[in-house]
Amino acid sequence: MSTHPILELRGVSKRFGAVQALYQVDFKVHPGEVMALVGDNGAGKSTLIKCVAGIYPIDAGEVLFDGNPVQVHGPKDAAALGIEVVYQDLALADNLDVVQNMFLGREQLGSLRRLDEVSMERRAKETLDSLSVTTIRSVRQTVAGLSGGQRQSVAVAKAVMWNSKVVILDEPTAALGVAQTRQVLDLVKRLGQQGLAVVLVSHNLHDIFEVADSITVLRLGQSIAEHRTAEVTQTQVVESITAGKLSKVPGLAEEVVA
């Protein structure tokens, strides 16, 4: 693992009206590292990944990509940097097949501005093979016919196909059964082994302890702790999630704390 984080957030704050969704959050992930992002409901996990993805503008703090400060103003900026987000609802079109979904919005064109189906199909296959996704029979079947785990695999393959450097997975195993969860966790491990930085948002500590190298805990919009998975127990992490020490008490005016 490199010592140099590929993505780093320093003191990021985000406010929605009266609600302080994020307060001076620090977060970093290195290439080849699987970083889990945990926290109770409302801790700010979703807000944080949406800030990284450029869906929400941040109010304060800075985002560094590969050591350089960057401004991410939209999903396209994030994609251009190499940050891809796989949302919980996956955003796949049921009526399109696997290849069509993987290239949606980024279709490859041949002569006469015609869709280059052959090279798209080949590249989709190569990507799925490189991730050792073997459960999908045909890349020309519609996504409607795929299981939850297969859909997750397609969504992840879609995200990593574009030379992405950071892949953010939002609750990838939330709706899956045991065998499907296994498929997806294996996939997450392989992404890390291939040198990608993976941010795994999850509630499931069991999954996290199996695949994550590090754990960042959010509580009430603040980053509480960053643990090395090998050095903590699940109980300690649960403690951070539920009772981690806050630098600012929500509800109190900033001046009072300062």
Partner: protein, 417 residues
């Protein structure tokens, strides 16, 4: 030259589905049969429906299956099929356009007025057609902007259009009552026929083109080591096109010949099928209809896709209006009224385009128009009233949607949704 076999055999689910690891015709047939049992009916219900229609009407009136009536049928279904092709784009989005009838009326009347031989500002056919279609496109742009930028449901916008454009038809006609078209080119669209030799030549070119497209596609896949269709199936497809095309040309030539409007239909069919299956825009239309949120996140400008589809629908309606005016050789205050709107939407749906968006193809417009206009034509031959026609057509539409619903359940059970 026939329109009944598409250049790319697409599954009803999505464009350009290529058979997986196909190696023999037997395998392909087995896959097809498995698809049908899982509710992927394709064009099977339509073929059965057409067979039933032919048997029923022929048994009631032996003039139904004559070459003369066949040519009549082609001319009669042309306007409906043209308008239905545009409707397919809107239905693919999961939207509706109720204004296509009177948009066709506006374009037909505008064309007739531009061609009025009153000396000073009479246009020739070409510019008149271009302007009429541009009027259609502008109407579609207006509808699209209202739907996407103001967020008014397409049902409401185009319902307002239904009333508004009806009014425009009446205002344009004014006190004239009926405007007769005297331009030979415009009248020729629906009333002139290819000479026998030219028709055969066009058919040969069409078959060669189709075979060429299939072969080059297959070669590209084989070169990339991707599963390709068995060569025998490819031969079968070309043979089917040749057989159907030869039958159409032979029967039509037995009477007045192949109408020019048939060439128009074929050209539009190829154009829009290409757009839907082979271009980024077409892919995005399916994506917006299937999951608009996914399309938005993929960076697709959803509003622009929608506006473009409404513009296509209105432009095709305008073209259909010109074809209709050409067939009737005149326009009057009834232009665009009556059954034309509902027949066009029903044609797309009967042909297999889903009202819920994301599923369908251009082929369905032509096949559906064939079904509806055969019924219309047959009941006309039997001398039955419009009342009976509408009741029967309504029942057929209901049957088609029922078949779609039942097969959809089958697809869901088989995980093919």
């Amino acid at each position: 030259m026939s329109t009944q076999v598409p250049p790319v055999e697409a599954s009803p689910a999505a464009p350009s589905t290529v058979a997986p690891a196909g190696d023999s015709v037997g395998d392909a047939a087995r896959r097809w049969w498995a698809g049908i049992r899982a509710g992927d009916l394709g064009i099977l219900p339509i073929i059965i429906g057409l067979l039933v229609i032919v048997v029923v009407f022929q048994s009631q009136n032996d003039r139904f299956l004559t070459s003369g009536n066949f040519v009549n049928l082609i001319v009669q279904l042309a306007a409906t099929a043209v308008i239905a092709m545009g409707v397919v784009f809107v239905l693919l989005l999961g939207e509706i356009d109720l204004s296509v009838g009177y948009v066709a009326g506006v374009a037909g009347v505008a064309t007739a007025l531009m061609l009025l031989p009153d000396g000073s500002n009479e246009l020739s056919a070409g510019p008149a057609i271009v302007i009429a279609i541009a009027i259609g496109a502008s109407i579609g742009l207006l509808h699209g902007l209202l739907i996407t930028k103001l967020g008014i449901p397409s049902f409401v916008v185009t319902l307002a259009g239904l009333l508004g454009w009806n009014g425009v038809v009446l205002l344009l006609i004014g006190t004239r009552g009926t405007v007769t078209i005297q331009n030979d080119t415009i009248i020729g669209v629906a009333n002139d026929f290819l000479s026998d030799g030219i028709a055969w030549l066009v058919l040969l070119l069409g078959i060669a083109l189709y075979a060429g497209v299939l072969l080059s596609g297959r070669r590209a896949r084989a070169k990339a080591a991707l599963p390709a269709e068995p060569i025998a199936l490819l031969v079968l497809r070309v043979a089917a096109l040749a057989a159907i095309g030869a039958a159409v040309v032979a029967v039509a030539n037995d009477d007045r010949g192949v109408p020019y409007v048939f060439l128009l239909l074929t050209g539009l069919f190829i154009l829009w099928t290409y757009v839907l299956n082979r271009t980024t825009f077409g892919r995005h239309v399916y994506a917006v209809g299937g999951n608009a949120e996914a399309a938005r996140r993929a960076g697709i400008n959803v509003d622009r896709v929608k506006i473009a589809c409404f513009m296509i629908a209105s432009s095709m309606a305008a073209l259909g209006g010109i074809v209709l005016a050409s067939r009737l050789r005149s326009v009057d205050t009834n232009a665009g009224s009556g059954s034309i709107l509902l027949y066009s939407i029903a044609a797309a749906v009967i042909g297999g385009t889903s009202l819920f968006g994301g599923r369908g193809n251009i082929r369905s417009a032509i096949l559906g128009a064939m079904v509806i206009m055969s019924i219309d034509n047959g009941l006309g031959l039997l001398g039955l009233s419009s009342g009976t026609k509408f009741v029967v057509t309504g029942l057929v539409l209901l049957a088609a949607v029922a078949v779609d619903s039942i097969s959809r359940r089958g697809r869901e059970n088989a995980g093919r949704a």
